[in-house]
């Protein structure tokens, strides 16, 4: 009886260690020649992670491991700092406010230089050259309205606002860089405001239930619902320029990497990013395919 018990325990232990080893096996840190690319779990970041991955695969001999579903800035940033990731795409405004806990700053160059300096010094991480687009808050109106009143800039709304309803998701009304700051900066007085679910506000705008809404400047929905972004002429919204954030030791180890990744510098405009998001989020196309098409059309790969 006793021996049988011991045997049972021994078997159980072996089974457990096998299972754990089997599951955990792929975790082992790779030897040289492999780059781990991460991204946060929303469409735009996944698309950009995929783009960085394909670029490395096409232009270098390095192998790429993709971890494109990670749960948010904190997870990505810590993984990068710990060396579980070699790089992931992030936004300058996020680095400034979420990671470095600094107050809002609206000058794009100041923000870029500040996060670059702090990241270099504090974390041994480097921001590469920005891709070009700025995924920040934006003010959008239906294209018809824009054409009817000849609207180009947010300031153009000032004389019309008294007859317009402003709609946004609840968060926009609660943020310091949201509604209150916006109307104060521009001196806008809207007739009324309404709050909606994020996904519904575009529909509400398209159906004329609201006249003006907030958006992210690279949202694919802007194309679906044919909305026009008005220029933030008083530079109220903080800049969220995007680029790859890379570990400095990875850049030293693989010197070819920096030039390769910088091939994307200035290559993606707001409209192009909207289009990429639209293809994946609204049309349901595979991100891999959309990215390959984009890189080929641009003559990058």
């Amino acid at each position: 009886m006793k021996r049988k018990g011991l045997l049972l325990i021994a078997t159980l232990l072996t089974a457990v260690s096998l299972i754990v080893a089997g599951c955990a096996g792929e975790n082992a840190k790779s030897a040289g020649g492999k780059i781990v690319v991460g991204s946060k779990n929303f469409n735009e970041n996944i698309i950009l992670g995929e783009m960085l991955a394909q670029l490395i695969e096409a232009k270098t001999d390095l192998q790429v491991e993709r971890k494109l579903n990670l749960g948010g800035t904190l997870v990505c940033f810590n993984a990068l700092k710990n060396g579980d990731l070699d790089l992931y795409p992030d936004y300058t405004g996020t680095g400034l406010m979420a990671i470095l806990k600094q107050p809002v700053e609206t000058d794009p160059d100041k923000v870029y230089n500040y996060v670059q300096e702090q990241y270099n010094k504090k974390f041994k991480l480097k921001w590469l050259k920005p891709f070009g687009f700025n995924n920040t808050y934006a003010i959008a109106v239906p294209r018809e309205t824009a054409e009817k009143y000849n609207l180009e800039k947010v300031s153009d709304l000032v004389p019309l606002a008294g007859n317009m309803v402003f709609g946004a998701e609840q968060e926009f009304f609660n943020r310091p860089d949201g509604y209150d700051g916006l109307v104060k900066t521009y001196g806008l007085k809207f007739k009324n405001t309404k709050s909606f679910e994020t996904a519904l506000k575009y529909q509400a705008t398209a159906q004329g239930k609201i006249d003006v809404t907030d958006a992210f400047s690279t949202d694919g929905e802007l194309i679906t619902y044919d909305l026009k972004i008005l220029e933030d002429d008083k530079k109220f919204f903080p800049p969220y320029f995007c680029t790859a954030v890379v570990r400095m030791d990875t850049l030293e180890k693989y010197p070819e990497l920096e030039d390769t990744l910088n091939m994307l510098a200035g290559q993606i405009s707001d409209e192009e990013m909207q289009q990429l998001n639209y293809q994946v989020a609204e049309k349901g196309r595979d991100a891999k395919e959309v990215v390959r098409e984009f890189l080929e059309n641009k003559g990058i790969i």
């Binding site: 018990g5 457990v16 599951c23 975790n27």
Partner: protein, 204 residues
């Protein structure tokens, strides 16, 4: 299809690993606590507190120490599986009637023999019920493992949520639900089969 099968196996493997490690710690700890009951309250409260940490926060915390990937997920699942296993082991063993223990002692059984031949067989169905709860919970929680770079069925679920692609969500959610149901039924059956013959309700 092949990919779903592979993700399902991976999912099962990860969940089982977390639960088994929790079993290796939880059952011996439960046995110890029955012998040192003064400690049972504090230890149980501590495990209770761990249980209340939201799963995503737990993953982020564990990730801080173990990095991205399956190890962190298994560690988090271990924490969540520990409470039901520990509690049921303790409750099961503590609930064995003192009369039976006295009878055993009267027959000259040593402490180890009492444990092996009296306490554990009587408590076994309750202990297994703990494993059952732990396993079903683990299969559910493992679906968020993808957020820290672990494998399993979370991948199609989260990607599907991003793309508002219900079919893709289903390819992850349905196998995960089936896995949980099958685990529940199998462990439930085992629970019944392991009731010692002398303790089964007699069909008259």
């Amino acid at each position: 299809m092949g990919q779903i099968l592979q993700l399902t196996l991976e999912h099962l493997c990860l969940s089982a690993a977390g639960v088994l490690v929790a079993g290796l710690v939880g059952v011996p700890l439960g046995i110890l606590l029955v012998r040192a009951r003064a400690l049972a309250g504090p230890v149980m409260s501590l495990v209770d507190v761990l249980q209340t940490i939201p799963s995503l926060a737990m993953l982020a915390l564990v990730m801080f120490f173990l990095g991205l990937g399956n190890n962190s997920l298994i560690a988090a699942l271990f924490v969540y599986a520990l409470l039901p296993i520990l509690r049921n082991t303790y409750t099961g063993l503590a609930g064995v009637s003192p009369d039976l223990l006295e009878a055993g002692k009267g027959m000259g059984m040593t402490g180890w023999q009492l444990l092996r031949q009296v306490q554990l067989p009587i408590a076994l169905p309750i202990i297994l019920a703990g494993f059952r709860v732990a396993m079903v919970t683990a299969i559910g929680i493992a679906t968020i493992g993808t957020l820290i770079g672990a494998g399993g069925l979370g991948e199609p679920i989260w990607r599907g949520i991003q793309l508002a692609n219900t079919f893709m969500i289903m390819t992850g959610a349905v196998p995960a639900a089936l896995l949980a149901i099958i685990a529940d039924v199998l462990l439930g059956g085992l629970e019944k089969a392991l009731v010692p013959r002398g303790l089964r309700a007699k069909n008259i």
